[in-house]
Symmetry: C2
Subunit: 257 residues, 2 copies
DNA sequence: GGTTGCACCTCTCGTAACGTGAGGTCCTAG
DNA sequence: CTAGGACCTCACGTTACGAGAGGTGCAACC
């Protein structure tokens, strides 16, 4: 409430907070990390902000409102005044980040929307079946790396619908045989099991396999997993308890090989 | 590496981590917060996971991959098995959250894109001018609440282009007079200043003012601020040092009134 | 028999950007 | 003289883990 100081261009932390629309805590935080240090202190230790501080605060808030982290804002304000190219670079980087985030969010929206649609279509008889669907989603997810997802996105248009259908039966047969071996107690180290696991792994990781005949079908299967994971899992006829044991069985078979 | 335990359906934390694709630390974290507690412990204190634990882990990971926070996942898994409506409610809420995030991200993309365009068009003679633009962005931002932004979005189509142009000169005149008073050292409590501040505040907050004549112009000015903040600030002829003092001057005038 | 090595254990600190007290000081108006 | 504000400095809480430090149990190898 020191009118003279205010007229002389020196604001208290509360005055600045009200005038700029940030909280007092935020101003103290920015002071603490040296992003917007108070120009000085009063005799009693109160922060006094100068006109230069106020300008800097507004710059920081503007960049913050564009979603930039404080660390980058600090770097930018340290170099930008004499270097407009730095500003362009940082804005471009920020735009890239935002675009990536937008794409990720969009994918999530589609996934959640897909689940909701199936829930509303009452194609889900009981909630246990739905939980099984959830389990399958992350189970199948565990077998794709981010790079493989990239690849799949590129190959999307090269594949037809009938290949996808063929892949479904091919995949179903594979799982069926594996579950059968589990039921019969076949050791994971058995050559027949290991052969099945090899085929499974080629599905998930074998993007550079040179096989010619089954290549198209395998690619379609990979695509199907990526694009229709939840629909696929709902179409699978095996009980959840059995499926839950499958990843560990595969793991043991690999270790034995 | 205990093969017997594994075959009996009890996994060590490392085996489960490899089979499910999460880290050991994550499993310990889920155990710690009770989200996926280990079914038991071995004699030496090592966690042993059962098939039921594995199922629960897959459910958690699936929901997590949809962007849900762990707290909600916990609540959902506590109530969902007997209540499919809860699942629908949670998925709907998640979809809403994701939509809000997508819209926010989209707005940021447009803002950053706009700044980049102006930087590339070389309409920015020096970087200092650009910094001033940044300051103006958050300065004008401070005078709009989120609700007012909502309002503006609804009124967008009711206003014409010529009203916007008229509003610009009207706003410029207002700022010009305020800066003049600041220069002359007119006390913030002066009636003339307070009258100007009243007009300023009506711009930002007076959405329910019943004035008939200037209403259209005022609405256009508010819209202009919202939609073209950065272009507006670049068009304003006043030096940044002066503008920086304006919010505090307004604040003191309000306190005096 | 000692030692290496691996998988596991329990703390505990760190992350981004502040929010939210707790407890103390300073200053002014009544 | 005292009540009320505005200010101060710690310091913990938030999310979902990552990254160590330092210790234990158990197998194989020299």
């Amino acid at each position: 409430m020191n009118g003279k100081d205010a007229i002389a261009g020196r604001w208290s932390i509360g005055e600045l907070a009200r005038a700029s629309g940030v909280t007092v805590r935020t101003l103290r935080h920015y002071d603490e990390i040296g992003l917007v240090p108070a120009g000085g202190r009063s005799a009693s230790g109160h922060r006094r902000y100068t006109a230069a501080d106020v300008r800097r605060l507004y710059q920081v808030r503007a960049l913050r409102s564009l979603g930039m982290p404080l660390g980058e804002i600090r770097e930018l304000l340290a170099s930008a005044p004499e270097d407009p190219a730095a500003m362009r670079a940082v804005l471009t980087a920020q735009l890239r980040r935002l675009t990536v985030r937008a794409e990720r969010t969009q994918r999530l929206i589609e996934q959640v929307g897909g689940l909701l649609r199936r829930l509303d279509e009452a194609s889900m008889p009981d909630s246990d079946q739905f939980m099984t669907t959830l389990e399958m989603i992350s189970m199948l997810d565990a077998y794709f790396t981010p790079e493989q997802r990239e690849e799949l996105a590129h190959r999307r248009d090269e594949l037809g619908a009938e290949a996808v259908e063929q892949a479904r039966t091919w995949f179903a047969e594979l799982v069926e045989q594996l579950l059968g071996h589990m039921d019969e107690g076949t050791p994971a180290g058995d050559p027949r099991v290991r052969d099945l696991v090899r085929r499974w792994d080629e599905l998930g990781a074998g993007f550079h396999a040179e096989g010619a005949s089954g290549e198209r079908t395998a690619a379609a299967a990979r695509l199907m997993w990526q694009e229709h994971r939840d629909r696929l899992s709902a179409a699978l006829p095996w009980p959840a308890e059995k499926m839950a044991g499958l990843p560990a069985y595969l793991e043991r078979a690999r270790a034995a090989g």
